[in-house]
């Protein structure tokens, strides 16, 4: 109440100023946990999803559907291994098709998880806290789906090890480290390992919470083993936080490098439409764009079904929508530049590729569908009405996911189907095995997501606890808030604001 002691006009000004400050603070930093919560209610509310006896009926329905769809993957892979990759629609000149389209699509989706967990942590964005856990799970599962495609494209994956991994084999040969495909192996396997570690380290304190709250002996034992005996010691937390921050620090260049290296698979080759320097940043932006769309697809139903609106607030959705808009615009800029450079290069082949892709070729419709999905649909996000409506956000996210898949289809198929020699031109169409495998991985992905939601805490409990005001020690923030409330109260009594 320093202002109060000064009294008079200056005092009233101070009150008004501080009241405004409070308002500004609320607008700039909206509360990330809504409703009345304490450490205990946060722990119980999130932990109960896992520990409560009754599993909601919609979980069984969703899980059953996902699991059924995942059987398509089993079917496709069985046929593939029995008969070889000739069952796919790949041909000459379209030697890379669904396998690489789906690989890039899935790995891109994973990127938002790492962005949320690592980059937003380094940038001190508190809103990441309630979405990072399932975004990281999404990353892991997406990478698992992605990895299947190149591995199975080798036809006999159990023999692929000798040219993928450098080990001294009896044939005395080594992988070719000058090839982007080997860079990809290193990038994706590092990405999968580090994402798994990051996710698991984040889970340890929460698994300890579940261990201590579980009534069932079996679950208590399992969570006890998984939490490695975590007991929340201050010395442990000290090293834990250092490790967590360092992991975030190294995951940041990692996530940027992974999709850059994925784009090198194309950019290092000399195919018109692939050989472009804009690819790395444009791929990274596209990955984050697709990833946030998937995060929204997952979290919009999740927060309703499990009544998690206190933790995944409307503010979270709006922030994600804004990131989607920003990265989407970068991607659209990428499309524009691709076309522009095709013309500006004055290379006959580059310009032919652009024409083939956009209006002269047989796949022109895929390009315009892509522009509709990724370019036009996101323009709705400029408007508050759409940004703040979960229904529209969900719809736009689904459209964007389709659009990002089309983007890879356009880049891969339209660059390859009409190559340098007209005599080798050919059309590409996927077979039933291509589609089964792709749709099967979607089922597999959602099966894993459903299992994750059922058995592990979907929101990071210990990090949400730190968001509560009571988590502050001699908190300056807290003191400030209280004094502001007091000031506001006095101010309203003495000088009611004009309506």
């Amino acid at each position: 109440m320093a202002g109060g002691r000064r009294g008079g006009f200056a005092g009233a000004e101070t009150f008004k100023c501080m009241a405004d400050l409070k308002e500004i603070q609320e607008r700039v930093y909206p509360p990330m946990v809504e409703g009345e919560h304490t450490f205990a209610t946060v722990s119980d509310k999130i932990g109960d999803i896992t520990l409560k006896k009754k599993t909601p009926y919609h979980w069984f329905i969703g899980f059953a559907i996902s699991f059924m769809v995942a059987q398509l993957l089993l079917f496709a892979v069985t046929v593939l291994l029995a008969r070889g990759i000739g069952v796919w629609g790949n041909n000459q000149p379209v030697g890379w098709a669904f396998d690489i389209i789906n690989f890039v699509w899935w790995i891109g989706i994973g990127h938002a998880g790492t962005l949320i967990s690592a980059i937003l942590l380094l940038l001190n964005q508190k809103w990441r806290t309630s979405i990072n856990r399932f975004a990281e799970a999404m990353t892991l599962f997406a990478v698992a789906c992605a990895a299947m495609f190149p591995l199975l494209h080798t036809g006999r994956p159990w023999l692929a090890a000798y040219w993928l991994f450098p080990y001294p084999n009896t044939m005395g040969i080594w992988p070719q480290f000058r090839s982007p495909l080997i860079w990809d192996v290193f990038a994706v396997s590092t990405y999968a390992s580090i994402s798994l570690l990051f996710w698991y380290v984040g889970l340890i304190p929460d698994l300890a919470t579940l261990r201590d709250r579980a009534k069932n002996k079996f679950f208590k034992f399992v969570y006890g083993i998984l939490s490695w005996g975590w007991r929340g010691s201050a010395r442990h937390w000290h090293r834990y936080e250092i490790a967590y921050l360092l992991l975030a620090g190294i995951s940041t260049p990692l996530v940027l490098s992974v999709h850059s290296i994925v784009s090198f698979d194309f950019a290092v080759s000399q195919i018109p439409g692939w050989h472009a320097t804009i690819f790395p940043p444009y791929f990274v932006a596209g990955a984050i764009f697709a990833g946030f769309a998937m995060v929204l697809i997952l979290c919009i139903p999740l927060r309703v079904w499990y009544n998690m609106k206190d933790f995944i607030t409307d503010t979270h959705l709006v922030y994600m929508a804004k990131i989607m808009l920003a990265t989407g615009l970068i991607v659209v800029y990428g499309y524009a530049m691709e076309a522009f450079f095709g013309w500006y290069s004055a290379s006959e082949y580059e310009w032919f590729m652009v024409k083939n892709r956009i209006w002269e070729g047989p796949y022109w419709w895929s390009y315009w569908l892509l522009i509709l999905c990724n370019g036009l649909s996101i323009q709705l996000l400029w408007f508050k009405r759409f940004r703040e409506s979960p229904f529209w956000l969900f719809l736009i996210s689904v459209v964007v996911s389709v659009g990002m898949w089309l983007e890879r289809f356009v880049i891969i198929v339209t660059s390859l189907n009409r190559d340098f020699l007209p005599s080798s031109w050919a059309m590409y169409s996927p077979t039933i095995f291509d589609w089964s495998m792709f749709i099967g991985t979607i089922g597999f992905f959602f099966t894993l997501i459903y299992l994750f939601v059922r058995f592990l805490p979907v929101i990071s409990i210990f990090e949400v606890r730190t968001l509560l005001p009571e988590a502050n020690v001699h908190g300056h923030q807290q003191d400030f808030d209280e004094s502001v409330l007091e000031v506001e109260y006095t101010w309203e009594k003495t000088d009611p604001p004009n309506e």
């Binding site: 040969i173 860079w183 919470t209 201590d212 201050a234 250092i242 490790a243 190294i250 502050n472 020690v473």
Partner: protein, 177 residues
């Protein structure tokens, strides 16, 4: 009786109480102490006099090891063991060795960060004497605990217990070994 005790534990309701109490414990000269909280508290490091961990140095060493082994592996493969002329390019084409070496740097640094942290923390350790206090199950939910171990040079059961009572805790427990 006293020989069977791991230490004395006090329970607190808020992080501020815990940090205040931890400050007093340090000022009273106890060194074998520990605090337990359901989330990381930065203030407690200073209050308990926890020294900065050597973990960052280990992680740096891990990263450098990854980088050097990545370079060494590729130079060995393409320059020493099996030089292969592809389109007349140099054997030591280092720019194309950057991505794998870069990824290995990150991989080993990440592994060191996680496993180094677990190793320095002495985890996994499913059993620990503090778990013998039934109320301690709340340390992962909402409550804050402070322990002075029997191994402390200044430890004297009755004295420490009286001291803990003076810190205004919710409750004080003897932690059985």
């Amino acid at each position: 009786m006293k020989e069977d005790i791991y230490g004395i534990m006090a329970e607190f309701d808020t992080p501020t109480q815990l940090v205040d109490a931890a400050n007093k414990v340090r000022e009273a000269g106890y060194t074998k102490t520990d605090a337990f909280s359901p989330f990381p508290l930065h203030e407690i490091d200073e209050a308990l006099g926890i020294k900065r961990s050597i973990l960052p140095l280990l992680v740096f060493a891990g990263g450098i090891t990854g980088l050097l082994s990545g370079i060494a592996l590729q130079v060995f493969v393409h320059y020493i063991d099996y030089p292969l002329n592809v389109g007349g390019r140099p054997y030591l084409s280092w720019p194309s060795f950057v991505p794998p070496a870069y990824e290995l740097t990150i991989l080993l640094a990440g592994f060191t960060a996680v496993f180094g942290m677990l190793f320095l923390n002495g985890l996994p350790r499913p059993y620990h004497p503090v778990f013998n206090v039934p109320r301690f199950a709340l340390a992962t939910r909402e409550k804050f605990f402070l322990v002075i171990e029997a191994a402390d040079p200044k430890y004297d059961h009755d004295e420490v217990r009286a001291f803990m009572e003076s810190l205004d805790p919710q409750e004080v427990f003897d932690v059985p070994e």
